[in-house]
Amino acid sequence: MFEGILIAGFGGQGVLSTGQLLAYAGMKENKHVAWIPSYGPEMRGGTANCGVTISDRPISSPVVSEPTVLIAMNRPSLEKFEPAVVPSGLILVNSSLIHIKTKRSDVKTVYVPANDIAESLGNGKVANNIILGVLLELTGVVSTESVLEALKEVLPPKRHNLIPINQEALEKGRQLAREFKAS
């Protein structure tokens, strides 16, 4: 197995930490993992992205230049990275903030109104975990359990109260994805 996942959006959307969570979960499952952020002054514009590679072979370059999965949290990210996705790859579009469609016809695209669903769960900040849930369901790259385990290690104890809501968001995302698969 090999997944090169690119997560991109604004700063503040939890893009980097979502990627780390995924990498951590992969590590828990004894897979080879690597995480790498974009860095440097391009960040000034307020955009942020990171690449996560999860594989059962050693990872050559951690840079995800040809993602198998793109998670686009905002419009500029979708426009910028859409062309790089491998044929028959997957694009997850945060349709709460992105009101356009992808131009690629050779990839699978799922539109997830992540912010709206998150708000409906009562916490706009878990939009990233909604979309992460979708990813888990569609790719099976790691299990929900590994993600939750990773979350426990990544979050400082005093913020463990946030675990249930995150778990709920992941579940919600998986459920959405199942519906999508069914449809």
Partner: protein
């Protein structure tokens, strides 16, 4: 012990602390900033010092002072900052002081950019400063190896009283990978009777110095250094071999580009081509021995670098015309892509253009 996910830059910091380094002097620069950030927090926890210098020039000379006073000490920078340290590094080498210098290479020349590159190879291994001196250069290819090599770096520095440089780039510095940290053991740096810490009455006078105004004495000093470098060249060559045994085409690459080349070797093997990888871990001393050993057994070499062709000279010096040595490089902060290298390999393997 459990693995943890760690950033390369932070691994350098943690590796240094675990190797007993207690002094860091440096000036911020991308893409190594997480290292100062980490040590600014970490050093006070272990009773050490993180001091931000006014420039890289000053940092190199603070390192000179602290090393002369007997401390395990390090600095870190990238491209332009490392260039500014060249005078200091020459003095450190001339005065035979142990220290560790981290160079997270970025695109150049000039201000260039902050993307990963290997274009400071010549500067590091041939000596960007003045005079006949050598810096031991280590080139890790993973976060785990960073941790391991930091210990070696300080040990080699003290063993040979010589500066040691860790060569990496923004990819290695920014990426997170699982690492095994191992037991945190207290490292007592070796005794340094030569350190100038204050002369005991009746004791020997210590002088930290690189001035030899009389040419005869300066030549003696150079000969002494050359002897030391010869020992290091003999004893400290390190490399990784990957599918070298039966390889007809040998890729030579270090650091980040070697990671990519490993995938290329895998793919070539999948397709039945006898391709191997030689990954120098020390780029000075250069693992010339292994190349001389295998050169007659292979058809050709392919050097892959993230620059316009620098390490290839060391490979050619070792191959001595016995076999063709080809080059594939990306420059200016571009990462080589496995597919492109693979195509190059395929072309060459099937008897592509002779050199």
């Amino acid at each position: 012990m459990a693995k943890v996910l760690m950033k390369g830059n932070e691994a350098i910091g943690e590796g240094a602390v675990r190797a007993g380094c207690r002094y860091f002097f440096g000036y911020p620069i991308t893409p190594q900033s997480e290292l100062p950030h980490y040590l600014a927090k970490r050093m006070p926890e272990v009773g050490g010092l993180y001091l931000q210098s006014e420039s890289e020039t000053a940092a190199a000379n603070m390192v000179f002072g602290a090393a002369g006073a007997g401390a395990r000490v390090m600095t870190s920078s990238s491209g332009p900052g490392i260039s500014l340290m060249q005078e200091g590094i020459s003095y450190i080498a001339g005065a035979e002081l142990p220290c560790v210098i981290v160079n997270m290479i970025r695109g150049g020349p000039g201000l260039g950019n902050i993307a990963p590159a290997q274009s400071d190879y010549f500067q590091a291994v041939k000596g960007g400063g003045h005079g006949d001196y050598r810096v031991i250069c280590l080139a890790p290819a993973s976060v785990q190896e960073i941790i391991d090599l930091m210990q070696d770096a300080f040990d080699l520095a003290d063993k040979y009283r010589n500066p040691v440089m860790l060569l990496a780039d923004g990819v290695l510095g920014q990426m997170m990978e699982p690492v095994e940290l191992g037991e945190e053991k207290f490292v007592q740096p070796p005794e340094k009777p030569w350190a100038a810490t204050g002369r005991k009455k009746g004791g020997p006078k210590r002088l930290i110095n690189s001035l030899y105004i009389v040419p005869e004495e300066c030549e003696q000093h150079n000969l002494k250094l050359a002897k030391k470098y010869a020992v290091i060249s003999r004893e400290e060559q390190r490399w990784e071999e990957y599918h070298l045994d039966d390889a007809r085409l040998v890729i030579v690459a270090f650091g980040t580009s070697a990671r990519v080349c490993k995938a290329v070797v895998d793919r070539a093997r999948d397709e039945g081509m006898a391709v191997g990888l030689l990954r120098p871990i020390t780029v000075w001393p250069y693992p010339t021995g292994v190349i001389k050993r295998i050169r007659e057994k292979v058809d050709r070499f392919l050097v892959v670098e993230m620059n316009m062709g620098q390490m290839i000279e060391d490979v050619r010096l070792a191959v001595e015309g016995a076999r063709p040595v080809h080059f594939y490089g990306r420059a200016g902060g571009m990462m080589p892509v496995a597919r492109d290298i693979f195509n190059e390999v395929k072309k060459l393997y099937n008897g592509g253009a002779e050199q």
